[in-house]
Amino acid sequence: MAEFKLKIRRYDPESGSAPYWDEHTVELEPHRSVLEGILQARNENDGSIGVRCSCRAAICGSCGVRVNGKPGLACHTHLGAALESAGEDGVIEVEPMGNMPIIKDLIVDMDAVHWKKIQRVTPWLIGKQPVPEREYIVSRESMIDVTQSMACIQCGACVSDCLSMEVDPLFVGPAALAKAYRFVGDPRDGAHEQRLKDLSEDKHGIYDCTHCFKCIEACPKGVAPMNQIMRLRRIAGNDFQIKDRNNGERHEAAFVSNIERNGILHEADLLPDSYGGKFHPRAVPELISSLPIVVTALLRRKMTLGKALLHPHTAPDGVKRIFEVVEGREERNEFNLYISGTDAEAEASPEVAAAIEAAEPAGVAPEGTEGSSG
């Protein structure tokens, strides 16, 4: 048994009083969870502490909180580990998740934000037509591909810390977009293009993510929502050539061709090209609005006209060759660590590696016999 000090953020919006910190000392073994600590404080010290929980085994996703400023599951965080990430005073801070209104203390309104956004992405399978008489037959590989996004337990930890949502509450967000990939990556779904068009054209859709890695860091289940958002963009732009009104696809295409030509980025071209080219109607107002900055930059000799207009770099032949080979491939070669694991892991557990090796090679299951059913 050891003593742990918990500092819990308390707030009851109905009371009319401001939020405050409340400190409790609990006695538990270090391998017990922060949730057990909160429950002990509630049961023994103060029955009015508001906390939501159910399974206590990192499955139900109810007990999302921030521990020492980082979002996660209270039931999945050991008190010992929490003490290590605590400040110098050795007090473990427990706060409600961010980006969602507080109902009471550690309980946030998941319906108002998280579930609304999940509903936004049509979170069910729209069967591909024609619907087969029996089950859909799909390759094993394609179902493994969506398991990463299926691992989501809807705890809201990624939503809590999303930095785009912090400034743009309308952003569809990491959890819902990971859910969208779960269907866009599913070969049985018949609405891939509509889903992607919808989420590309929405100003608060897939192109509103800044790659800040907060959701990857937050997720207790390894879903890596940001990676799923990047895959949605990849499929929208490359496979369906969706040219969205937010310039998402244009920006990506402009960036890639900029590097193909110049080897390193020539910024002066990137901005106008991202809007469709220097003389594109979209680009003109943008360029005019950035004129004062351009003039200041020229005056301060941050850039020179020569440098802005001329192209001092050209891509080395080796770089051009890489573009030729990789862009010329018929099928995307996308190495996913979540699925493949590392060589080091395989060495550490040879039985698992052997089992994977021995398993049937990925491919279409014999028709009408085996296979995942829808």
Partner: protein, 304 residues
């Protein structure tokens, strides 16, 4: 020490003062820079978004070029851009994870006679300062301590997340290094909400309001915390925080005027270089507070 030096793209384009200040500071720190001038853009996450294999191959090529320098005596590869650090690290994680995948990538590189061998050490200048040069040595080189200069750190997402991939842990708190460096140089570290958040730059062409709102909010938070300036190891953050600052100020509806320094500029100031030598005159937001400070410390330095 000798490093295979990857300056990145923006430090040779819109933030040329970064490349220049690194070149000025390196000899004072006894760092010999061997520039990887045939290497290409890291992709900044955008090429990976288009094609993961393309980003992995381009960066494997950069690593292979750096390894050529390392066999000829360089200690490691060094970059001066948080985004390069993170984007290259992400590719390296995949390349190092699987010999089979690495072989596929090396097959493409073989046309040029290059091969990437797993395990390259690639560190941002910030990490080199703390882990290779060491804070003690750095402290001994300070000629003009940043006394009374209130500096807010701004890291850039790519150099602080995800923590496991970037080997950030209690024994190696890379997400606290900027504060450590500011203190070592004699300055005061300003604690404000935005230090580890996103500058918003990646979506400037897609959702300008949200992008500028992020930059503006962090600059305003730093202003409220009474910072004299910010310092960043990321030139892309610098673009949104400095170049776009007039627009960000409009977006958040308040005056900002927060100078943003590149990391080598801050180090250079403390090592005794003048603001002019460090290219501070090229910033959009005039670093008046920093200049005033430097003149108060050493009369006439900088010649403004």
């Amino acid at each position: 020490m000798k490093v295979a030096y990857w300056p990145g793209c923006v430090s040779r384009g819109f933030t040329a003062e970064l490349h220049g200040s690194m070149a000025a500071v390196a000899p004072m720190l006894e760092i010999e820079l061997v520039e990887l001038d045939r290497a290409s853009c890291c992709g900044a996450g955008v090429i990976a978004e288009h094609s993961q294999e393309l980003a992995d191959t381009l960066n494997a090529r950069t690593f292979a070029l750096a390894q050529q320098e390392i066999t000829q005596g360089a200690d490691l590869m060094m970059n001066i851009c948080s985004t390069c650090q993170g984007a290259q690290n992400e590719c390296q994680q995949r390349l190092d994870a699987s010999a089979e995948y690495r072989a596929q990538i090396n097959e493409t590189l073989s046309d040029e006679g290059l091969e990437y061998q797993d395990g390259i050490i690639n560190k941002n200048f910030l990490w080199v300062l703390v882990e290779e040069i060491g804070l003690e040595k750095l402290r001994s080189l300070v000629r003009r301590p940043l006394t009374d200069l209130r500096v807010g750190p701004f890291y850039g997402c790519y150099i602080v997340r995800p923590t496991d991939r970037l080997d950030i842990n209690r024994a190696q708190p890379r997400d606290e290094y900027l504060g450590q460096v500011i203190e070592t140089l004699g300055g005061t570290v300003i604690d404000y909400a935005g230090s580890h958040k996103c500058c918003g730059f990646p979506i400037i062409t897609m959702n300008k309001e949200a992008s500028l709102e992020q930059a503006g909010r962090h600059l305003a938070d730093a202003t409220d915390a009474q910072a004299d300036c910010l310092v960043t190891p990321c030139p892309l953050c610098h673009l949104n925080l400095d170049l776009q600052q007039p627009m960000a100020a409009k977006q958040v509806g308040r005056e900002l005027n927060m100078p943003v320094l590149h990391l080598p500029q801050l180090v250079g100031l403390a090592l005794g270089l003048s603001p002019k030598e460090l290219g501070l005159a090229h910033h959009i937001v005039k670093p008046t507070a920093v200049i005033d400070w430097s003149q108060a410390v050493v009369g006439g330095v900088g010649g403004w």
